[in-house]
Amino acid sequence: MSTPQTPVKTPVKTSGRPLRALTLLAVILVGLLGTALIQGADSVRLGLDLRGGTSVTLQPRASNADNKVTSEAIDQAVSIIRQRVNSLGVAESEVTAQGSGTNRQIVISVPGESGRRVVDLVGQTAELRFRQVLAESSALAGIGGGEATPTGGVSAEINARFAALDCTNPANLQGTGADSPNDTIVACARTGSAKYILGPAEVLGQQVSKASAGIDQQGASAWFVSLTFDGEGTRAFGAQTARVTSLPSPQNQVAIVLDGLVVSAPSIREAIPSGEAQITGSFSQVEAQDLANVLKYGSLPLAFDRGEVQQVSPTLGEDQLRAGLLAGALGMGLVLIFSVAYYRGLGIAIVGSLGIAAAMLYLLFLVLGKSIGFTLTLAGIAGSIVAIGVTADSFIVYFERIRDELREGKTLRTAVETGWSRARRTIIVADLVSLIAAFLLYFFAVGGVRGFAFTLGLTTIIDLLIVFLFTKPIVTVLSRWKFFASGHPLSGLSPKSVGMKEKNAKISQTESPLEA
């Protein structure tokens, strides 16, 4: 049977400069190491499943038929939940939306044991309400709050609670959403800078039909928020503003209360019967847009299904970490033994490549942990271990190509180059397939899967770098050594191990049995 006739296309270019590639690799490694040192990253950030903690995944859904899950609504929900979670005061708590567009989940993770409370905290729905301010005080600690005792209509009990309310205590900025619309309540400003006694809610969040931030055309840069109410809201807001506008400050203020916290409490200059209102003040662009978002989505048009709650004890976390590392060491060790046993001398190149790949991955974990908040999860560890196989696969593809070339009677030095020009393509295509898989997995998945996909993608890129910048150059260097070039029996490239027959190949008339 004829052997394939593929003419060697171009003379191979890389042969003469293995040192250049190796230097480039060294620069990359040193650069990563330097970055890690400058960042002060001394350990890989571990995920909650490796150090214990609580994670909650929430699935947004429209709370009624009129509402839709929009991207902005999810952003708004994330910021409301973040406010609640931050009030726990646990370092490194995270609230993120994962996925894309409207098809996103909200993932809350709180490390350590205090995370248990988060479960109760995040599920509640936030409500937006407009309440008249009855009293305002910036005296935050309990003492001295009583001086702003309001005129009439407020019970002694409320006054006492107002006096006792300490808005510097993070627990009071949690936003429980438990404020009943018909009650007079005490509440803190969202920022913790003031506290209020507020009358019953007169206008509800869902009665706001439109809200947007705008800039005053005449004034230099005066940002304002304009809002429009629906029919019912127009009537209610008209009545409320008509009543309060003539009252003395602070009772002429209407507080915008979201999730039990006062977002803003503008004073009313005139009755607004038209249902079109403008809130002005010394807003920055961001503040105005935030307020507009609160008004638009603050009523949280979303309800949440509690998707998954996972509480991992530090013990289990430690066990999982140890198991992951053990599996990694075992897998790496066995792959190295196999490579050396099969490829003999060439195994050196595999040992070196995998070693450098592991070092590069570790450095990237360090750097990415600091720069983009990458955390290593158990699935991520699994991804890196699986990647040992992918990485080693590229070497095998290359080495088998070299052997193919040798079988065609080429010298080792030629075989190393022509084999490379053919293997390169295969490796790139195969790695691209892996990358596409990793990318899509990351894009479509949530939680642990993303960790897996991320490391898989990362290691595939590392594989490409290593093959081009280390494996190929080092094999070129090795091929110049007499040990390999002469086909020493232990080099892994001897005629015997490649499977070439000395002279006239013996011809078997029958098929070889499979057990060969």
């Binding site: 049977m1 593929t6 999982q320 599996a327 699935a379 196989g389 195969a430 397939v433 479509f444």
Partner: protein, 345 residues
């Protein structure tokens, strides 16, 4: 090892050759058997879904002396509807799984367990999953699958050729089907980690197929111009030339996955590591099989339908007929003819 290397050499030269492409019907029926069994298993038994898909709660107590019996008693005393599954995990853990519970019930179960075993609440690992969660992740997995197949099909069609893309995708679908079938047959737990495994198989199985197809493409590039061998024969040689490579890459890929499986199942007893690596292990094995026995024969079958290839097969057959007294039929070269052709070389 050296023996395998020697075999690699003989396979490369064509001196030893397995008639993989020609015997496609054998592999097809073998796979068909498996697929029918898979469908049967899926239909009759279905997949053994973890609580992530059904909704439910899982509580794991880390205490060596805890027994299944004690845990069951403690949780049953809470009075939950539905089935309660209690298992010993590894040496030092007991896991209780229940149906969907609300926050209050979950606290009651935790309280019952902390009381029974004298452990702190923090040392109990819990997982609560809402009833609609499974649908959500299943939907995502299916979207991911469809997107993957489309993108890869386009990519391969661009890099190789459309028929190769079709054959590669067929092989991938075949792998996922059989892997899922094995899960249904054996009754392994299906968790989100298992799904990650299934999706990763897609990439892996393709990696192997890409390696084989790259060689097929190289071998068949000038097959029409040379008129020496048919497309199927050239493809078969490519498969033989890459068998050792495919086996090696598969072994190397299976070693780390096997390590995870060993540690995950042995040390941790259950969880992400075990579920993920089991799916990968099975999928990789099936993927290796399909990249050798399913994808290339199917590709050859597709290509042989082309008029140019049929004409080529005729030319090759008549050449062989002119040289030998014993000719095979137009598209099939008999074993003997092939052996003699080799001998001539």
């Amino acid at each position: 090892m050296a023996k395998l290397s020697g075999l690699g050499g003989r396979l490369y030269s064509g001196e030893t050759s397995f008639n993989i492409v020609e015997n496609r019907k054998r592999w097809y029926s073998f796979s068909a058997l498996f697929i029918v069994a898979s469908i049967f298993a899926l239909g009759v038994q279905g997949l053994h879904l973890g609580i992530e898909f059904k909704g439910g709660a899982s509580f794991t107590v880390n205490k060596a002396t805890a027994t299944v019996q004690e845990a069951r008693e403690a949780v049953e005393a809470v009075g939950l509807p539905g089935e309660i599954i209690v298992q010993k995990i590894g040496d030092s853990k007991v896991r209780v799984q229940t149906g969907a519970v609300d926050a209050a019930q979950s606290r009651a179960i935790e309280a019952a367990l902390t009381q029974k075993f004298g452990v702190t609440e923090e040392s109990i690992d819990t997982q609560l999953v809402g009833p609609s969660w499974g649908k959500e992740i299943t939907k995502k997995a299916i979207y991911g699958l469809i997107a993957f197949l489309l993108v890869i099909m386009l990519f391969l069609a661009m890099v190789f050729e459309p028929k190769m893309a079709a054959a590669a995708i067929l092989a991938v679908v075949h792998d996922v089907f059989i892997t899922v079938g094995i899960y249904a047959l054996v009754g392994f737990d299906v968790t989100p980690a298992t799904i990650i495994g299934f999706l990763t198989i897609l990439g892996y199985s393709l990696y192997d197929t890409v390696v084989v197809f790259d060689k097929v493409r190289e071998n068949t590039k000038s097959v029409v111009a040379n008129s020496k061998v048919t497309y199927s024969q050239a493809a078969n040689l490519a498969v033989n030339q890459t068998i050792v490579r495919s086996l090696n890459t598969s072994i190397i890929a299976l070693i780390p996955v096997g390590s995870i499986l060993f540690v995950g199942a042995g040390l941790l007893g259950a969880g992400t590591l075990k579920d993920l690596s089991l799916a990968l292990f099975i999928g990789l094995a099936v993927g290796t099989y399909s990249s050798i026995f399913i994808a290339p024969p199917f590709l050859a079958q597709l290509r042989e339908k082309e008029p140019a290839m049929q004409a080529l097969a005729k030319r090759v057959a008549s050449r062989a007929g002119a040289a030998e007294t014993n000719t095979g039929s137009a598209t099939k070269i008999s074993r003997r003819t092939q052996a003699k052709r080799k001998g001539r070389k």
